[in-house]
Amino acid sequence: MIQTIFYFFASFIGIYINMWLLLQIFEKKSQFLKRKMTKKLPKVSVLIPACNEEASIEEALDSVLGLDYPKNKVEVIVIDNGSTDNTSKIVQKFKNVKLIKQKKPCKATALNNGLKLATGKLIGILDADTLVTKDCLKKTVGYFDDPKVGAVTNLIDIDTKKGFLAKMQNIEYLFSALTKRVLSLLGSMYVTPGTLSLIREDIARNIGFSDDTLTEDMDIALSILKRGYKIVNSLDAVVYTKIPMNFKKLTEQRIRWYRGFIENSLKHRDILFNKKSSHLGYFIIPISFIAIFIGVLVSIASFNQFVNDITLFSRSILYISLSDQASLFLIGIPNLISSLLSSYLFIFFIFVFSTSFAVLYFSLKFFGRANRINTILLPVYMLGYYFLIMVYWVFALFQELFRWRKKW
């Protein structure tokens, strides 16, 4: 009975989140691609922390230096934080790029060191594995005409769509871009990633970058929001980021992100149910935690069921041959189907699944990207990739719980 109640609750939450997102998308679709151009072009200091980035730093620098923006108004500072490869040598080839060397391989310290040298009115943060499009700066600086805007982020696209993992991440990034736009329109954008996110210089100096969490980009974003500033997401300023192309790298990245999310939510817990933080504190962070909690429990229950099935199967093959097992399976299919069709779990799973599908589909459609995604991949993404993501959440949660050593 407890199990049934839990699955009912989980389905309700799942459908509610999907409905909320769908309504937000329908209501705010006209504002999605609203542009904010300006004639004022303030000086921008782009900080690029780099640790062993010899493979990508040159391309990243070429793209920043090629920005369609007055050259005297772009200051590029690379902070080599503990590289043991040729990163510094490559950077030194660029005459108009300032280089700082630090021994500590810490991104937050690198950004703080970069800040000391920066002279721009806006601080841009760029990861060394990210490429910017020519007009991306011009499309974002305009938002700072509003004195309430503390930071602006871009639309993050991925650099390759080849391979299964890349295709899955492509859907994820497109969906995430739209979610970020919705969050931004609700004043709840809670991350300023290293994809040429711009922060007002005085705010960046006041807050500074901290290394006490794994994701300094969420830390500073929450601090900006707490100071009463808005973070805006621009959907037409595009940057390309390199994505993990194998499971090992994806695992490392996701566990770091999700541990960072947990750490920052705890560090900035005063934002929860705080009148100033509105949507973020009252709904987005609490519902995210509820969804994560549900996902983690479902993943653990599924894993437990999987282990039980494997144990039973391995014991079963001692008594029943594989061919007999196969014929038993075939005989049992009608029973399996009627059992499935008669379960509430299945009915609600269909509802959660179809509303999730609708959210994904409409978000990509309004975004003008539906044609870039093979619709058949959407169910695969929802059934396979979601589950993988939940597994990462389980790991992140346990690592945080048992205070495992952090890996940046």
Binding site: M1, T4, M19, L312, D324, S339, S342, S343, Y344
Partner: protein, 225 residues
């Protein structure tokens, strides 16, 4: 201030979808209930028919029409197997509104099964029918070995057909007759098999079970060759 509009709209939409889900589920449950009821009524009718036939022959001292009785028994067994399949595919965890109805059906099924077993034992004696009866005691929950034993019995039932009569008895069904049988055969664990009065309180492998059945059955049986 939080804009409640979309939150409230989303809540009512979710509630609507949820109510639709519950409504569909409730109707599926209702269908299951009536399907089970129909099937168990069919089985009950067949058993009553056997009883009536036997009573008729005994009362009027007439000789049994064994072929006729065996035919009804075969049909009853098929219906019971069917009912058993249906009952096993509906997990109690998924039943919300008609739980007691399904539980009642399970009790009724067990009752009919025991009655069928007793009638068949009687027909076996009176008609000299050559079949092997297996009373299979199992638990639905927390008994992985019961699943294995159940599967072994299904495989053998497929090869011996009507020569092998399996009567699966869930020991958790609250029926006094189950307690009587547990006491009578001294069942202390599951899975347990009672084959022609011999008790096996462990998993009996397919090969061993095959040998036991073949030893009991006379003549040339394809499954034994």
């Amino acid at each position: 201030m939080v804009k409640l509009n979309i939150y409230t709209k989303a809540f009512f939409l979710t509630l609507g979808i949820f109510i639709i889900g519950l409504f569909i589920g409730m109707n599926v449950e209702k269908l299951i209930g009536s399907d089970l009821l129909k099937r168990s009524d069919d089985v009950e009718r067949s058993i009553q028919e056997i009883e009536l036939e036997m009573l008729y022959f005994q009362t009027l001292n007439a000789s049994y029409s064994c072929d006729f009785l065996n035919e009804i028994v075969r049909e009853t067994n098929n219906n019971l197997d069917d009912l058993s399949d249906r009952l096993s595919s509906y997990s109690e965890d998924n039943i919300l509104f008609w739980k007691s109805d399904v539980e009642d059906q399970k009790k009724k099924y067990t009752y009919l099964l025991i009655k069928d077993w007793l009638l068949q034992e009687r027909i076996k004696i009176d008609c000299g029918t050559k079949t092997v009866s297996v009373l299979y005691f199992y638990k639905r929950k927390e008994c992985g070995d019961c699943i294995i034993q159940g599967n072994i019995l299904s495989i053998l039932k497929n090869s011996f057909r009507e020569k092998l009569m399996v009567f699966p008895l869930d020991i958790d069904v609250k029926l006094s007759m189950i307690d009587i049988l547990i006491k009578r055969f001294n069942i202390t664990s599951t899975p347990s098999l009672v084959i022609e009065d011999n008790l096996y309180q462990r998993i009996v492998s397919k090969e061993e079970l095959n040998d036991i059945v073949c030893d009991i059955l006379p003549g040339n049986i394809t499954a034994c060759s």
